[in-house]
């Protein structure tokens, strides 16, 4: 039987508005308090997906075809005769056919895996969003003068930089309301499936009084704990998460609460270690937030910035033909689209942009966030950390 622990019990988060008030002091947590640090609310992410505001006519080139149709176009681009294409596709998804499709890249004229060598495939030129609206942020500060920018349908702000939406927005499983009945399926399903098995992401907001406008401190961290699921299969609220002490996923921002919406006043980089199948890392520069403290105690909104496009591509590229078939997006096509629409962080040598403007939509439920007492992050073994 362990020692008795007299943990401070905060008032219930809902319907009372005070969550873990003074929790930090009582638990000797030193998280991220604002100068005053009067009230703290903590959350664990329950949903994470690409922010999508899809309208009926925002893809003038049309919606990307189903992948089986796209495969035919890919083979046609390789110069394969129609008869042979038909013969190949008649065997779909058999082994021989998949070998042809997977190895549709060419290096020195020889077939190579198009997922591990996406630049070897011919760019199928996926459809890009041509609409006027996208959720996101004015990252470059140019406002309406920003080239290829959108208008945010929620804030009506112009100059929104979200080229990731332009890339994803014409692929069926990445589209969202109002034209689509459901939020984007790909990240929604992946997050929903994987969330009990990877370390949770948590957000802590501290301010003098979170029922009033004023400055706040926002901490975004990775936990060493996974989320638990409730009886309805959703992320369980009011569970406790220990913060991973590894500095790679500790982020503290200053911000402001106004009319129940939290935004940032400093926009430095954010880094969160993620899951290799979903999003291996969330690295943002020019980090922006727009999070609404909902009356039901939950949190929802956007996080955005410039993200290395490779981070977005990698999990999908590794998914290969499975992701292509299930999520309906051509992997080499995604590679080219991300690369071409990247709009920040030019490589000093090549001049090619390495980051793309993004906005991710997130939802979070109330949680307790505490330090990981006595937890030491695993050290890299000699084998994995050669000197």
């Amino acid at each position: 039987m362990g020692d008795w622990v007299g943990l401070f019990k905060p008032k219930p988060l809902f319907p009372l508005t005070v969550a873990g008030i003074s929790l930090g002091a009582i638990l000797s947590i030193a998280p991220l308090q604002s100068a005053a640090g009067g009230e703290t609310r903590s959350y664990v992410l329950s949903s994470f997906t690409n922010a999508a505001y899809s309208t009926k006519d925002d893809c003038q080139g049309g919606i990307d075809p189903d992948q089986t149709e796209q495969y035919k176009l890919d083979l046609l681009a390789l110069g394969m005769p129609l008869e042979k294409i038909q013969k190949v596709m008649d065997g779909y998804p058999g082994f021989a056919t998949m070998a042809v499709l997977v190895n549709r890249g060419r290096i020195d004229g020889k077939p190579v895996n198009a997922y591990t060598n996406p630049a070897s495939a011919i760019d199928p030129k996926l459809h890009m969003v041509t609409g006027h609206y996208a959720y996101g942020f004015n990252l470059d500060g140019k406002g309406a003068d920003s080239p290829n920018s959108f208008q945010d349908p929620a804030t009506h702000q112009s100059g929104i930089d979200n080229q990731l939406f332009r890339v994803f927005g014409c692929a069926k499983n990445f589209r969202g309301p109002p034209a689509n009945a459901t939020p984007p399926m790909f990240y929604g399903i992946e997050w929903s499936t994987l969330r009990p098995s990877f370390p949770a992401w948590v957000i802590t907001i501290t301010g003098d009084d979170l029922s009033r406008d004023g400055p706040v401190t926002v901490s975004i961290d990775r936990s060493i704990d996974h989320v638990l699921l409730d009886a309805a299969g959703n992320t369980e609220a009011y569970t406790t998460f220990r913060i991973d002490p590894a500095p790679g996923s500790v982020n503290v921002f200053q911000g402001r609460l106004q009319n129940g919406v939290v935004t940032l006043t400093d926009h430095h980089d954010l880094h969160l270690v993620g899951d290799p199948v979903l999003i291996s890392d969330l690295d943002l520069s020019q980090t922006h937030l727009r999070l609404t403290l909902e009356p039901n105690g939950e949190l929802d909104g956007l996080v955005g910035g410039y993200q290395p496009w490779w981070e977005v591509f990698l999990p999908i590229g590794h998914g290969g033909e499975n992701f292509e078939e299930n999520q309906g997006i051509d992997v080499p096509g995604l590679y080219y689209a991300l690369k071409h629409l990247a709009d920040a962080d030019p490589d000093p040598k090549t001049g090619e942009n390495r980051r793309i403007s993004v906005a991710w939509q997130l939802e979070a439920v109330p949680a307790f966030v505490v330090p990981a007492e006595g937890y030491a992050p695993p050290e890299l073994s000699a084998a994995s950390n050669p000197k």
């Binding site: 905060p10 009372l16 409730d230 369980e236 609220a237 406790t240």
Partner: protein, 592 residues
């Protein structure tokens, strides 16, 4: 107390029976009813109902003998104790009957139907097959046959004699052993496998009424006293199931054989040994599980259930349901056994135990201590001062168990408080009463439970009982139907003021204090524990005995171990009514 009786076998022994006809039918169906042990006669002390009996007046010295079916937990624990905890039981046990607030009392009303016997038979086969399999036989069978491909009566007899004593909680008679060896012999020859023979014989013993039912073997009439006393082995079983919720161990059986349990000194020594054993925790857990109606958490009862609407109470997961019972049991064991605390403090103690799942319902931070994906560890937890939650009444196992699937219930909670905690009887609602108004949480005219109940009890027929249940129940209204805390219902601030028998208070804390200071609460514990031990309501002189127990419990500062000791060493626990009924020579002949 202190009554001297002769050792077992010192006088002509008799078997007191209270056989329900179904039990007899079951016994015959099993084909396993054995002759009574030599020197014993069996007496059918019939006619008294097996369930609770009211006090029958000063002329009755003791209540009727009971024939109680082993509870599922007792069955499991007994098998684990004899053969090891790695033996899988499988199967599904027959539903239990609750009488006088206790399954332990209802056990005296239980028989075994044909369908249920099939389940017992399947379990017996499963258990027996494991006991004799390659991985267990070397440990569990004390000899090696001369040839594994045929019968070996000597080795079979050695095993069956030893196991039979543990299963039947008394030594097998010579005839019984002969029958069992005969079964083993025949099966071994037929299957050309010695162990197959043991398996068949063991399986047969596991479906025997001698194993499945607890008997009340007595020493015979005590001249003119109107009662008899249990013989040594029946005393051992009475003790063991009371204190350990399992069959007697070999030490206890040995003491029974030597007659030590018939003397106050020997009995006290053995009770002290048993109370000092960690196994007493199982006994205490079994009692409180029974008293607090935790069986309703698994098999929903009419007024108590853990069935929750997941859309309304998403945090009430199956894990929470399991943890909730365990939380209360840990709280009770820690306070009453580990710390030998005052029973009244169970209603106010801030000390408890939580898991992360349970903590989510309670809305308190509790860091996990096990790796992701592994079952959560229990962690001690102290509710901070001023916390609305303290004591077992505020735990999920009470406020959620006594709620509806989608809404709290001041009525069910108030009734449970009266009946479960204070041992009062609240009449059932009259037929044709509509509860629609009470359960409709969407009616803007009645946003809170208090307002709905106020409207409901305008019916004078309902008002009488509601005056008993509602005032204490409404004090628990700060707890949702899943046990989570709330201050408002439908946006309206909850008035959690309440009253209990004229004492007014506010909220759960006030209720906790009021119950803790109510003499009815410890008195109820004593009554329930005495009934639990006897397997029936006290009768005749036993009523006075229970009164004395209550007085002594107060003098002992409401300490449970002292109460357990007093009950376990009381003569009343080992007496049965003697009516001089017709004598039969064997159970089998009685059945026939």
């Amino acid at each position: 107390m202190g009554e001297q009786t002769s050792s077992a076998g010192g006088r002509g022994c008799a078997r007191a029976l209270c056989l329900a006809s179904a039990s007899v039918a079951m016994a015959l169906a099993c084909g396993s009813v054995q002759a009574a042990p030599p020197n014993q006669t069996s007496v059918a002390v019939a006619s008294e109902p097996a369930g609770p009996t009211a006090a029958t007046g000063p002329t009755q010295a003791a209540g009727p003998a009971m024939l109680r079916r082993l509870s599922p937990d007792q069955y499991r624990q007994t098998v684990a104790d004899i053969f090891g905890s790695d033996i899988t039981i499988g199967g599904r046990f027959a539903p239990e009957i609750r009488a006088s607030g206790l399954l332990a009392v209802g056990a005296g009303n239980e028989s075994i139907t044909g369908d249920e016997l099939e389940q017992y038979h399947a379990m017996a086969q499963t258990i027996a097959a494991q006991v004799v399999d390659q991985s267990h036989r070397g440990v569990l069978i004390p000899c090696t046959p001369e040839a594994a491909s045929t019968a070996d009566d000597r080795c079979a007899g050695k095993f069956l004699d030893a196991v039979g004593e543990l299963l039947y909680r008394r030594p097998l008679t010579r005839d019984e052993l002969q029958v069992q060896v005969g079964i083993a012999h025949a099966a071994a020859v037929q299957e050309k496998d010695f162990y197959a023979g043991l398996r068949e014989s063991l399986a047969q013993m596991l479906v025997s009424p001698e194993f499945l039912f607890r008997w009340s073997d007595v020493n015979g009439p005590l001249g003119g006293k109107g009662y008899s006393t249990l013989d040594g082995y029946a005393r051992a079983a009475q003790l063991s199931f009371f204190l350990w919720n399992s069959a007697p161990d070999q030490t206890l059986l040995n003491d029974a054989r030597r007659g030590r349990l018939n003397s106050p000194r020997g009995l006290t020594r053995e009770v002290n040994r048993m109370l000092a054993s960690p196994r007493v925790e199982a006994g205490v857990r079994a009692f409180f599980s029974d008293m607090l109606q935790f069986s309703c958490a698994e098999d929903p009862c009419l007024d108590a259930s853990f069935s929750k609407d997941s859309t309304i109470y998403p945090r009430f997961t199956p894990q929470v349901a399991a943890d909730a019972q365990e939380q209360t049991l840990r709280t009770l064991v820690d306070l009453l056994l580990t710390h030998d605390g005052d029973y009244r403090d169970v209603f106010t103690t801030p000390r408890t135990f939580l898991t992360p799942d349970l903590a989510a319902v309670y809305g308190v931070p509790l860091p996990r201590t096990t790796p992701n994906g592994e079952p959560s560890k229990w962690q001690p937890y102290i509710y901070p001062a001023g916390d609305p939650r303290a004591g077992i009444l505020s735990e999920v196992s009470f406020v959620a168990l006594h709620s509806h699937p989608g809404v709290s219930s001041a009525v069910l909670r108030g009734r449970a408080l009266r009946e479960v905690i204070l041992c009062e009887k609240v009449p059932d609602p009259p037929p044709n009463v509509s509860f629609k108004l009470v359960l409709d949480t969407t009616n803007p005219k009645y946003p809170t439970m208090r307002s709905r109940l106020d409207a409901h009890i305008t019916n004078p027929v309902c008002a009488g009982c509601h005056r008993l249940m509602d005032p204490p129940g409404l004090a628990m209204e700060n707890f949702n139907g899943d046990g989570s805390f709330r201050t408002r219902e439908n946006g309206v601030l909850i008035d959690a003021s309440g009253a209990l028998d004229g004492k007014k208070f506010d909220g759960m804390q006030g209720l906790d204090q009021t119950v803790a200071s109510d003499p009815a609460a410890p008195a109820c514990l004593v009554s329930r524990l005495a009934e639990y031990a006897l397997g029936r309501a006290p009768a005749g002189d036993e009523v006075q005995w229970v009164k004395q127990l209550k007085t002594d419990f107060i003098a002992d500062h409401y300490r449970l171990p002292a109460l357990l000791r007093e009950i376990a060493t009381s003569d009343e626990l080992y007496r049965v009514e003697w009516k001089g009924a017709a004598v039969h020579t064997t159970v089998a002949s009685a059945a026939k």
